[in-house]
């Protein structure tokens, strides 16, 4: 009698568990976990990232007939919170893929959670990690070297022989300087100065005077956002006549607002999405970029004016492509699926996004090539393609 009861109870529990299992299998959508800075000092980047992701969800809400569920958490521009968010997404929401975020340190924190929990992470910013130890992480952003190479190529074409450098005192300033030091000697260009300033500085007159005294043919700046406008303003004030070059950290409407007329004719690299309308019709990313503009306008009731929302969109496209292949191997929501998804992402071939054409392979965090960059010129407050 007792044993019968036990068997029955066991059977009931087993049945209940199976039922639960079936129910969860039926409801198993694909789950995307996004952690992004909706508040805090990085929110001017984080908000566009989130808006771009909403546009992507509207553009491709289903993959192979399966709905995709997007879970968005705010990391308040804090790497610790970003790491905690990633853990929450992985452990509580059981997401299939992590995406984020607007700051490099925060993205690194998320990537480490992705690695520990064996969940693929698609970064939306450059991530500075050793790819050999981080086989679960990749990013849709362009590597800094790729962008700076484009600037140096342009300098060479404009017969620049000597270039002065002025940039931030932080990691971004170093990154740009190192990329410049790598590319410039190969192009026969001499870097004559390495001046630095802090993001919060009120004036760079001292540094600029030193650069102007060296009379370089051009000046390269390593800043980002509104503080990146300072060297442009100071060089203009000192009557510097050479070319001033920037990099993709400056492609931001606030930079344009603050730099005003002093930024006229400045050249910098960016993803082609910024000047999508001006690209030749045969440019590989033109069609998807115009589609993105249209869907973004529809979802957010405002035009895109930044490069960040497009990274989210591209991250989604890469995920959708990989997921449709991984779903043939495993069921979403399982550990096997996450492995299959990672393998699928790292075998991505020629997925056309708004910023570039993505082909990932193991051992590298980045998946873009020369098609992911164009040089633009600031002309009366508008970005113009400089072919």
């Amino acid at each position: 009698m007792k044993s019968l009861m036990l068997t029955l109870t066991r059977g009931a529990i087993a049945a209940a568990l199976t039922a639960c299992g079936v129910a969860s299998a039926l409801a198993a959508d694909l789950k995307v976990g996004l952690s992004v800075s909706l508040s805090g000092p990085n929110s001017s980047l984080g908000v566009p990232y989130a808006k771009g992701m909403q546009a992507a969800l509207a553009y491709k809400p289903e993959i192979n007939g399966r709905k995709v569920q997007l879970i968005v958490l705010d990391d308040g521009s804090d790497p610790t919170t970003a790491g905690r968010n990633a853990r929450k997404l992985v452990e509580e929401e059981k997401v299939d893929v992590l995406m984020g975020t607007s700051g490099v340190p925060a993205a690194i924190a998320m990537a480490q959670v992705g690695r520990d929990a064996k969940t693929p992470m698609i970064g939306l910013t450059p991530i500075l990690l050793d790819p050999s130890e981080n086989s679960w992480v990749m990013t849709v952003a362009q590597p800094t070297q790729l962008m700076i190479d484009a600037v140096v190529e342009r300098m060479k074409r404009n017969n620049v022989k000597t270039v002065g450098y002025i940039g931030f005192t932080d990691a971004w300033g170093d990154l740009v300087y190192n990329a410049l030091m790598k590319a410039a000697p190969e192009a026969g260009i001499k870097v004559v100065s390495n001046e630095r300033y802090a993001r919060a500085d009120a004036s760079v007159t001292g540094q600029v005077l030193k650069i102007v005294a060296l009379r370089p043919d051009a000046v390269m700046t390593g800043g980002a956002g509104t503080p990146g406008a300072l060297p442009f303003l100071a060089l203009q004030e000192r009557g510097y006549k050479g070319g001033v070059y920037g990099q993709h950290g400056l492609i931001n409407p606030d930079f344009v607002r603050v730099v005003g007329a002093s930024g006229q004719n400045a050249l910098m690299p960016t993803g082609p999405v910024i000047v999508a309308e001006q690209l030749p019709d045969n440019y590989p990313t033109k069609k998807i970029a115009t589609d993105f503009r249209a869907v973004f306008q529809k979802v957010n009731n405002a035009p895109t004016s930044d490069a960040f929302s497009a990274y989210s969109f591209d991250g989604w496209l890469v995920f959708a492509d990989a997921a449709s292949r991984a779903m043939k191997k495993a069921e979403p929501g399982t550990a096997e699926f996450r492995v299959a998804l990672r393998d699928a992402i790292f075998s991505t071939k020629e997925v056309v996004g708004t910023h570039g054409v993505y082909s990932f392979k193991p051992g590298s965090l980045y998946g873009v090539d020369e098609r992911a960059r164009v040089i633009v010129k600031l002309d009366n407050g508008q970005w113009k393609l400089a072919p």
């Binding site: 929110s43 802090a198 919060a200 009120a202 004036s203 760079v204 001292g206 005294a213 005003g260």
Partner: protein, 351 residues
Amino acid sequence: MTWDVALILITDGLANGAVYLLAGLGLVLIFSVTRVVFVPFGDIAAFAALSLAAFETGRVPPTIGMVAVLTALALATEVGSLLRRGEAARIPKAVLMWGVLPAIPCVLAWLAARPGVPVAVHIAVAVLLVVPIAPLLARVVFQPIADASVLVLLIVSLALHFLLSGLGLLFFGPEGSRTTPLTSAVFTLGDGFTVSGQVVLMVGAAIVLSGLFFLVFERTVAGKALRATAVNRVGARLVGIRPVRTALLAYGCASLLAGLIGVLIAPVTTMYYDSGFIIGLKAFVAAIIGGLVSYPMTAVGALAVGVVESFASFWSGALKDVIVFSLLIPVLMLRSFMAAHSEEEEDEVDQ
């Protein structure tokens, strides 16, 4: 380094020094009258600059809402304390002082945000709008703890700075703003050496305002009351000076200075929600050189800080702030050797 470069650096340094001078005067004024190291001083300057930038981009500056909320808080505090003391008859006057008076700049600012208002009006309104901030904060926060130790006051003041800069981030966003120059004039001196009109304006404003300060302190009753309170609070009270009222006067003057600083530097530097802090900190170095009591020494200190900063940025941009703040070490050492120990500690025991 050539003479040209040195001249440019000196001009740049003097222009910055002029700003630190005004900020230093404000800090010394508040500290000598109330013993508060008013850290949020720079934040108020940033609020003025960003409000002006908001006007220029055709937006209603969110500062209006903040001043309005502060007004409501101050009014509630004042009415509450009057009721507690059983002086309900004085409530109408309090409403006029704490409710209506600070609301006037808010209304003006709201009106000035309409299109077609001349720039001069925008500048004046941006300055006026921040004038009530320090007195209102003082009424809500500092007046109830006016007799606390300098350290407590400093900590409260620091907390207030974080509150204000947080609000600044909320109101104006993380990106900075620049306003159109007040003047585009350029003066040529000698062979090709030019000084921009904005720099002349900044230095001129510093000279005129410090001159005004001197006259007010030497010639007017209110100025003498401020000086008396600075010298000895208890003594001042004995001769019929009300420390609460002089404190409010000091806060009001400092707030006005902060507003002027804001609109003066907004066209030459990019102002962020937190740029005020570093201006305040450098002005604090100047004020420390003046021992937090001496106006002329503060002025000299401010110009020194400006020029040192300018040359430091030429020699090593990355270490600029390190060099400026290192100035504090020798100054403080010298002061601690020279100064007789103050009666501060005794005062606190008495209370």
